[in-house]
């Protein structure tokens, strides 16, 4: 059979199992559009399409006019909104009617003959393949690529050497200072006063009532002009005051808080979002990004969500004038994990 003969011939190049396939049903009968057989319909479609084009032109002119009818007044955001809205909608509608008209034209009135292009095999025919080999051999003979080995090898050496400067240049994209050290430390030091974000005023312990949550930055943060945001992103702290009876403090941290006032890093240990949704009755801290929950009464232990570690606690005390101060930097790196965190 011719059919099975074809199957054998294709076996080498086709991964598709062809046995049991459905025979090609051939093509659908040629499709007669209503516009092909009824001149009235064709004329009406033509009118409709030209109407769309005219409408598109009208909308473009409208957009032009609207731009001047609704000018943008400097300093008045509402005029920006109205201007961009009206001009944008008019231009969009103009483009849409234009596009709809063109497609409608092609679908209804342009010649409707159907044609089929058969797929051919990926492999080229023998003369083409032979000619390709011939071209390579000619090029080799004319250039002397295999004959002049000194020339060829020195060219390869030059090409291999070319990207070497890029190694030095791309190396400079890495931070100049050791990034591991930068990740492990913040600007909190012994005696740094806790200050309000964003005013930078220092905080007295007596000002914090039970149930309060205060967003805290180091008092000297504004001395870091160039790296202000980098330092703030690591040093941000949430200060809360609980009834001391609600706090379960471990032996090693019993000096880290002051009369129920505790300070924890605001940077989530999952991927570094600011954790600041504090519920003062349940003492739970919620991270808004991935719903990690920390229990402030139990040293910010993770009670729900993807965070792997408790929030680091900032050891605090009170100085001679009654202001809250840090006892030291955080005793572990703040924020999410990184490769060298435990080294």
């Amino acid at each position: 059979m011719a059919e099975s003969g074809k199957k054998v011939a294709l076996k080498g190049s086709s991964a598709v199992e062809r046995s049991g396939r459905i025979d090609n049903p051939g093509f659908e009968p040629a499709h007669q559009r209503v516009h092909d057989v009824n001149p009235d319909k064709a004329a009406s479609a033509e009118r409709g399409i030209s109407l769309l084009f005219l409408l598109s032109g009208l909308l473009s002119v409208t957009a032009f006019v609207l731009y001047f009818l609704f000018p943008i007044v400097p300093g008045d955001l509402w005029t920006v909104r109205i201007s961009t809205l009206l001009v944008g909608v008019a231009i969009a509608a103009s483009l849409l009617t234009l596009g709809v008209g063109v497609v409608h034209w092609a679908k209804t009135l342009m010649h409707g003959h159907e044609l089929v292009e058969e797929r051919h095999e990926t492999r080229g025919d023998e003369p083409t393949r032979a000619r390709a080999v011939e071209i390579f051999q000619e090029a080799n003979a004319e250039s002397g690529w295999t004959r002049r080995r000194l020339l060829r090898n020195s060219l390869i050496t030059a090409l291999v050497a070319f990207p070497v400067p890029a190694i030095a240049l791309f190396r400079d994209l890495a931070p100049a200072a050791d990034p591991v050290e930068a990740l492990k430390h913040t600007i909190w030091r012994a005696g740094t006063r806790l200050a309000r974000d964003p005013s930078g005023t220092p905080i007295k312990a007596s000002e914090i009532t039970i149930g309060s949550a205060v967003h805290v930055i180091p008092e000297n943060l504004d001395t870091y002009e160039e790296t202000f945001l980098n330092e703030k992103a690591k040093a941000a702290v949430l200060l809360m005051r609980l009834d001391p009876a609600d706090l379960n403090i471990s032996e090693e941290r019993k000096d880290w808080s002051y009369d129920g006032i505790v300070a924890y890093s605001k940077i989530c240990t999952h991927v570094g979002c600011p954790v600041a949704l504090y519920e003062q009755q349940t003492h739970h801290l919620l991270c808004p990004c991935h719903q990690s929950q920390f229990d402030v009464s139990n040293e910010c232990a993770v009670i729900f969500g993807p965070a792997a570690r408790p929030l680091p606690q900032l050891p605090i005390s009170v100085d001679a004038e009654g202001y809250l101060v840090a006892q030291s930097d955080f005793l572990e790196p703040v924020g999410p994990s990184f490769w060298e965190r435990n080294q």
Binding site: H215, Y278, E279
Partner: protein
């Protein structure tokens, strides 16, 4: 065979029409957001303390105790001050309709003079925050208020004041069209799970700025156009998925469909 064979069941422009109808319907659906506002501008007469005590005994004592000392069902109100009463009763949160994750805002159950009477009585129990001076409720610097709002409030209440979810069914309510005295009271008293932002932490002037920012948002709306509730990626993403992608799919189907 008919002269005009109708092979498609829909008009070719039906997809476009459907898309436009959907867009207009969604625009209309977001138009309605209602809020209630109460007017609180009266001075509590000291003579009403007795009246307040009687009202408290009749309406609040079953949970808070006859002397407001607290029971298993409700906390002690000694020292919460007149401002806490104004907030809790003046927004309809108290008396609670039933126990749940948190007391929700509902129609106010008392007349303003009754609220003032109860507030006056509760204020006699122990010192606590009273009603703020009127000069801290209006005026103010919107841009400073916006910065304070972003630092202290936006993590729960959303940067546009649209509110947001907390844990286990609790939520931070939206802050649209709230009476300034209730905004002030919420910061000072820290109702329910909201932390306290006392006058020593955020000064009365700064509270006035925050109120000015919230009022500015009430009056000016979103300059970026339809804000879809200002809820962020959920409502915006849903809108794009349904209407933008739906429109693209509809246009693609129309492009590839054979003409009648």
């Amino acid at each position: 065979m008919a002269t005009y064979p109708r092979r498609g069941r829909r008009h070719p422009l039906a997809a476009i029409a459907l898309l436009l109808i959907g867009l207009f319907a969604s625009g209309g659906a977001y138009a309605l957001f209602t809020g209630t506002a109460t007017a609180a501008d009266t001075v509590p007469p000291a003579a009403q303390v007795e009246n307040g005590k009687a009202l408290f005994a009749a309406n609040c004592a079953s949970c808070h105790g006859l002397s407001a000392e607290g029971t298993a069902a409700g906390p002690s109100l000694v020292g919460v001050g007149a401002l806490a009463v104004e907030f809790q009763v003046g927004t309809g949160r108290m008396p609670m309709a039933g126990s749940g994750p948190q007391a929700e805002k509902k129609p106010v159950q008392f007349a303003q003079d009754e609220i003032d009477a109860m507030a006056a009585w509760v204020a006699t129990l122990a010192p606590g925050p009273g009603l703020p001076d009127n000069r801290f409720l209006s005026g103010g610097n919107e841009s400073n208020g916006a910065e304070l709002f972003r630092v202290n409030c936006a993590m729960c209440h959303n940067v546009a004041g649209a509110g947001g979810a907390l844990t286990e069914g609790k939520f931070a309510p939206n802050l649209h069209d709230i009476d300034p005295v209730h905004i002030y009271a919420a910061m000072v008293t820290g109702p329910q799970n909201m932390p306290v932002f006392s006058d020593m932490n955020i000064t009365p002037e700064e509270k006035r700025d925050i109120i000015a920012y919230l009022k500015w948002m009430d009056e000016n709306g979103s300059v970026g156009g339809l804000d879809l509730g200002a809820l962020g990626p959920v409502s915006e993403g849903l809108f794009v998925w349904i209407f933008a992608l739906g429109g693209l799919v509809a246009i693609t189907i129309w492009l590839t469909a054979k003409s009648n």
